[in-house]
């Protein structure tokens, strides 16, 4: 287990270095003078001079990277040109909103995906299996921003049951918080539910064919115990790993969902930054997302190793 952890940490460091290099290199894609591009519509020579000094734009590329990564390691992700506030502060401010949305979406995805996957596997080849697969294909093919628009059309415009946009903090009103987040969370969790359903089905099919399941049945255990205790417990490993990988998709999806439902989270921050050409914010958000995703993958691998005795040895 210790060797496994050390190996994973050994891979993590170069990956993080490459990620930081790639995100820093994004700035090089800007056409022309980076200082002019970073200044956006601001053409004040003093501002341009300030930006040149702030980002060491007159220095060679490796030196600029060293300054940038040094700042990042000290928690300095740069400053938003539009809002005039540190990017790290903005990210920390928006993170809880997106965090709540993605966790809710994941709960919805697991609640739909795992039972649907079990039913599809246990009742393989029946109408249940066909229906679950059809729903999964529907989930994978529906663009979440369109599903969001359709849900607003039905539940907000026609029925008037739920608010079409906005966000209410849970500390302000729990009901208000739920009513603003339930639609976006469902929209976000929908596609992930389809992926989780497919993987649960596949893992369950494999597990249900194994010898220990046959032994459990031969012992006279009820089918329910065989499926849930012997089947599902062993099939959950790959689903956990996949769940962590899908968190990345949730963060991607959150960008669009937050835009559709006007939720002031991480996604809205990056989209506003895109329109304002606030490049430091875009870089900061991408860096935080990638770092979070890498750490989540590490956590999933360690969790998988912890529940899988073959990897623990």
């Amino acid at each position: 287990m210790r060797r496994f952890i050390l190996h994973r940490l050994g891979v993590l460091v170069p990956t993080l270095i490459f990620v930081s290099m790639m995100i820093f290199a994004l700035q090089q894609l800007l056409p022309g003078d980076p200082a002019l591009a970073l200044a956006g519509e601001e053409r004040d020579p003093q501002v341009i001079q300030f930006l040149r000094a702030r980002y060491h734009l007159d220095q060679p590329l490796p030196v600029r990277y060293a300054y940038w990564i040094g700042g990042v390691l000290h928690g300095d992700l740069g400053e938003s040109i539009r809002i005039q506030r540190p990017v790290a502060e903005l990210v920390l401010e928006k993170l809880p909103v997106t965090g709540e949305l993605t966790v809710m979406a994941m709960i919805i995805a697991l609640t739909i995906g795992i039972p649907a996957g079990i039913v599809a596997a246990v009742k393989r080849g029946t109408a249940w299996d066909v229906a679950a697969n059809a729903v999964a294909l529907w989930g994978l093919s529906t663009p979440n921003f369109w599903l969001g628009i359709l849900m607003i059309l039905l539940f907000s415009v026609h029925l008037g049951w739920l608010p079409a946009s906005g966000y209410v903090s849970p500390f302000e009103s729990l009901w208000g918080n739920l009513s603003t987040l339930i639609m976006p969370a469902f929209v976000l969790g929908n596609a992930i539910a389809a992926v989780i359903m497919r993987h649960t089905r596949s893992a369950m099919l494999q597990v249900m064919r194994s010898d220990y399941v046959r032994t459990a049945r031969a012992k006279g255990l009820s089918e329910r115990v065989v499926i849930l205790k012997h089947g599902l417990r062993n099939a959950l490993g790959p689903v956990i790993t996949l769940g962590a990988l899908e968190f990345g998709q949730l963060l991607s999806g959150a960008v669009l969902t937050e835009q559709v439902f006007t939720i002031p989270g991480f996604g809205k921050l990056v989209v506003d930054a895109v329109f304002n050409r606030d490049y430091a914010v875009v870089q900061g958000v991408v860096l935080c997302t990638a770092s979070f995703y890498i750490l989540l993958n590490l956590a999933a691998d360690l969790l998988y190793a912890a529940i899988n005795p073959r990897l623990r040895a």
Binding site: V19, L26, L30, P143, S252, L256
Partner: protein, 292 residues
């Protein structure tokens, strides 16, 4: 006598037998056929848009602003009086070209990188795989948004951003396939005959690892179409007044009360074409890998 031998030869040729078996397995699933038909239909719409489109997709008409679906405008009109059906037909061009071009770019970059990593091994593999891990660490759409932001908003840049973001999947897949293939007897035989490494990789290994890559390419086209629509929805893809399904949905969002039909057809078009590619990809995968 010769005439009698030829068909026997053709039937016992393992490649022809394999192809026949593949086509039989492909045709066995109705969903694959339906997916293939819809993909062909949308490709035809995109190619023959100038001939099929009932109206100009760009020219506005103040007399027909936000008209509900009717005999004259089957899918209604938008906020500038443009025919929705015409814009859906022309939008197929942006979506399908984004899907195909970006996946073509991802294949052009990813397959040689995967081939080099899998076949050469050593520091080449280590470097390429760490780079791939780094790219995979950034969620697909976030990376595409970041690239499109810095490259500037346009359909071409969106296609480049999607293509680059989709590359690591092909690097990983090709490398895995190559590692498995390079210990096969036919590779050993090619090496024993004195073939140079590049020739072995390109002429002997590549053709044998292509099927799973093509399946992945079909499924990635579906993802790329959604990615293009997402970027256009955010204003980073096709620029107005050129039609794109994603940007049409972005505009429709502002008129949900007055003109709900504006939101229905572009989303339905994305859904159907993505579903068709997914069905085709699933069918191809099952036909190539009958174990499941």
């Amino acid at each position: 006598m010769t005439d009698a031998i030829v068909p026997v030869r053709a039937e016992t040729d393992p490649r022809i037998r394999e192809l026949k078996r593949f086509l039989w397995r492909l045709g066995r699933r109705k969903t694959t056929i339906v997916g293939g038909v819809f993909v062909a239909l949308f490709l035809a719409l995109a190619i023959f848009a100038p001939l099929i489109s009932p109206y100009d997709p760009i020219a506005g008409n103040w007399a027909t602003v936000r008209k509900a679906p009717s005999a004259a405008h089957w899918l209604g009109t938008d906020e500038l009086g443009r025919d929705m059906l015409a814009r859906i037909i022309w939008g197929a061009r942006a979506s399908l070209s984004a899907g195909c071009v970006s996946v073509g770019l991802a294949l052009a970059l990813g397959v040689p990188m995967g081939l080099a990593a899998g076949y050469a091994g050593g520091w080449i593999e280590a470097t390429l795989m760490r780079l791939t891990d780094a790219m995979l660490a950034i969620p697909f759409l976030i990376l595409a948004i970041a690239l499109a932001t810095f490259l500037g908003p346009s359909l071409t840049n969106a296609m480049m951003a999607i293509g680059i973001s989709a590359t690591p999947v092909f690097v990983r897949l090709t490398r895995g396939q190559v590692i498995a293939a390079k210990v096969e007897d036919y590779v050993e035989a090619a090496r024993a005959l004195g073939n140079p490494p590049l020739r072995i990789a390109v002429r002997h290994i590549l053709p044998n690892v292509l099927p799973p890559i093509l399946v992945q390419a079909t499924l990635t086209i579906a993802a790329a179409i959604i990615a293009e629509a997402s970027l256009s929805f955010l204003g980073l893809g096709q620029q107005p007044p050129q039609p794109s399904w994603g940007s049409m949905l972005n505009v429709a969002k502002g008129f949900l009360n007055q003109a709900p039909w504006m939101a229905l057809s572009p989303g339905a078009a994305i859904f159907v074409v993505v579903l068709a590619f997914n069905m085709l990809g699933d069918g191809l995968r099952d036909a190539l890998d009958p174990r499941d």
